[in-house]
């Protein structure tokens, strides 16, 4: 009887370990799969040319990703620029200042915001944000915009990123012991001084992690951006110009343009670039976390 139980335990352990290893290696599996399919184009063209050339003429065999990379960068940057201050202020308010009732009422709403599919965000962007920018904001600032622009995409992405950052930051703030706040308050610090000098400092590693999650989310978002950013393969001159981020490029063309030589390979290279950048974000954030922890914790 006992032997059977122990045997079961051992078999289960092996099986689970197998799954752990598989899921742990999945990142590499995906990276390898994409690399393998992107290899044909990498064999012919130098990587530098692929990454930094602005000429995108697949029919002539020119695959310059630069406009797409810059498009992705701008859209993500605008989104993070909006999302970080708003999310941090909201998270601090909800966890440090708001009444318990407010906190309990808003929590499900924030979760709901996180659950809304990107297509819905896309529709909303098309219906509300795009006209707003075309008819009001751009004319107000004396420029022209079709509305399908870096700014529209950035705004919609920012809203998608809010719940990601808020959720993590609130968790982090909640894990800080109240005695630490008390220690500062007891010295005669005001609540805000305590938040600014003690709570946020203590939460810094968590905040960095939250922002990285937010950046990855914005960076790889496809559908909403595809619907709003305008998809013009040119370097955007201002936030009112359209952009064509990498994920939108892949979604728009994959499966359809497979008759063009190397097109398929180029799009998988684009996927590989997305993957490598996300991996880079994560490694970078780990390094920053360790640094900060060494300094203050």
């Amino acid at each position: 009887m006992n032997k059977k139980r122990l045997l079961k335990d051992k078999i289960a352990a092996k099986f689970m370990l197998g799954l752990v290893i598989f899921s742990g290696l999945l990142v590499f599996l995906i990276a390898f799969g994409l690399y393998y399919r992107a290899k044909p184009i990498l064999d012919i063209k130098p990587l530098g040319q692929l990454l930094f050339s602005s000429s995108w003429r697949p029919l002539r065999g020119d695959f310059g990703f630069f406009p797409f990379i810059i498009g992705t960068f701008w859209v993500t940057a605008v989104a993070i620029f909006i999302a970080v201050p708003f999310s941090l202020l909201t998270a601090v308010y909800l966890s440090e200042y708001a009444h318990k009732l407010v906190r309990e009422l808003t929590a499900p709403l924030i979760d709901l915001l996180a659950g809304i599919p990107s297509v819905i965000y896309g529709i909303w962007g098309v219906l509300v944000v795009v006209p707003l920018i075309k008819n009001h904001l751009a004319p107000f600032l004396g420029t022209f915009s079709t509305g399908y622009s870096v700014l529209s995409a950035g705004i919609v992405l920012a809203i998608m990123v809010f719940p990601v950052i808020i959720h993590v930051v609130i968790e982090v703030l909640r894990s800080i012991p109240n005695e630490l706040r008390d220690a500062s308050l007891a010295l005669g610090a005001t609540k805000w001084q305590t938040v600014k000098h003690v709570v946020l400092l203590k939460a810094l590693p968590g905040i960095v992690a939250a922002v990285v999650l937010g950046v990855s989310r914005a960076f790889g978002e496809t559908m909403a951006v595809l619907m709003i950013a305008g998809n013009v393969a040119k370097l955007p001159g201002s936030v009112f110009d359209p952009a064509y981020p990498l994920p939108a490029l892949i979604a728009n063309n994959y499966g359809e343009m497979l008759s063009v030589p190397l097109y398929d390979s180029a799009l998988l290279l684009a996927s590989l670039i997305l993957l490598v950048v996300v991996l880079g974000f994560n490694v970078l954030s780990r390094i920053i976390l360790i640094r900060i922890e060494r300094r203050i914790q």
């Binding site: 289960a12 995906i30 202020l89 709901l112 659950g115 599919p117 809010f162 805000w192 996927s271 997305l274």
Partner: protein, 283 residues
């Protein structure tokens, strides 16, 4: 002293503005979808498949996409549970504290969580080519499972990590094996969290378009085989919105309304189930 007070009030004001702005965004989104979608809703939308000329504004509904999405998300969610639960149990029950494997696994979940869904779509398509599959329900399931199992794993791990070590020790002290402890104590203690994680993953699976755009394909028929293409709600919305015909665009709004309703339902049941299952927990 006075400056400190002004600064505090300034930031309090900013915080309040931020919070209100974010909540307003949510209400605006829901409001827009309801205002635009509700008038375009009718019974045919949810009970019929597209008929001839549907995409030109003629009769029909999107039952094909509703069912396709439900099949796809449900099967993917079940598969994800089968992967996530053993993995997370291993990390929290079997792996030693501070083990390298656990650290590495959690890191890789973070990375997987951050990988854009379009990349899963592209990778899924690569696997399908390798297996000789064409765009099909099965292809969609593969891509969506890869997409949502890291989400589920991270969410379950977050809860299981909170279980105090003393609880496990109490079980070991009674002579239970790790496997028995995992199933009888750990799963039970984290059940609300597991349910939440499953529903979050399901919601993500049903709402994602980029991963299925070339793996699941699209069809006007209700899927009856794993090897046939399947329509999905997000893609139905996307395609309908992209036509120039106003009637079809109206239907896109109605479809968006249906998808939002499903997500709302998932979110609500999440709240409800969590409340119900917290009864026996050791706090």
């Amino acid at each position: 002293m006075n400056r400190a007070r002004i600064e505090e009030n300034l930031f309090k004001g900013l915080m309040l503005i931020s919070t209100v702005t974010i909540l307003t965004c949510l209400l605006l989104i829901l409001g827009t979808i309801i205002v635009k979608g509700l008038p375009a809703m009718n019974w045919a939308m949810v009970s019929q498949i597209p008929k001839g000329g549907f995409y030109l504004g003629k009769e029909g509904g999107i039952l094909n996409a509703i069912l396709g999405s439900l099949y796809l998300a449900t099967i993917s969610t079940v598969l994800s549970i089968l992967i996530s639960l053993p993995v997370v149990l291993y990390l929290n029950v079997y792996a030693k504290k501070g083990s390298r494997l656990a650290y590495f696994s959690r890191f890789s979940f973070d990375v997987l969580w951050g990988i854009p869904s379009i990349v899963y779509g592209a990778f899924g398509f690569t696997i399908m080519l390798y297996l000789g599959l064409r765009a099909s329900l099965l292809g969609g399931i593969i891509a969506v499972t890869f997409l949502i199992f890291p989400i589920m794993s991270r969410a379950i791990d977050e809860v299981m990590r909170m279980i105090p070590a003393e609880l496990l020790e109490a079980s070991y002290a009674l002579g239970a094996t790790r496997l028995e402890t995992a199933f009888k104590i750990v799963i039970r203690q984290s059940l609300p969290g597991i349910l939440t994680a499953v529903l979050i993953a399901f919601g993500r699976g049903i709402g994602d378009a980029a991963s299925v755009i070339f793996t699941a394909g699209f069809t006007d028929y209700i899927p009856y085989s794993l090897f046939r293409p399947a329509a999905t709600l997000p893609l139905a919305i996307f395609f309908q919105l992209n036509t120039p015909i106003p009637e079809v665009q109206e239907r896109a709004y109605a479809s968006a309304f249906i998808l939002t309703l499903i997500i709302l339902l998932v979110s609500l049941s999440c709240r409800f189930l969590t409340k119900r299952f917290t009864k026996h927990l050791i706090k």
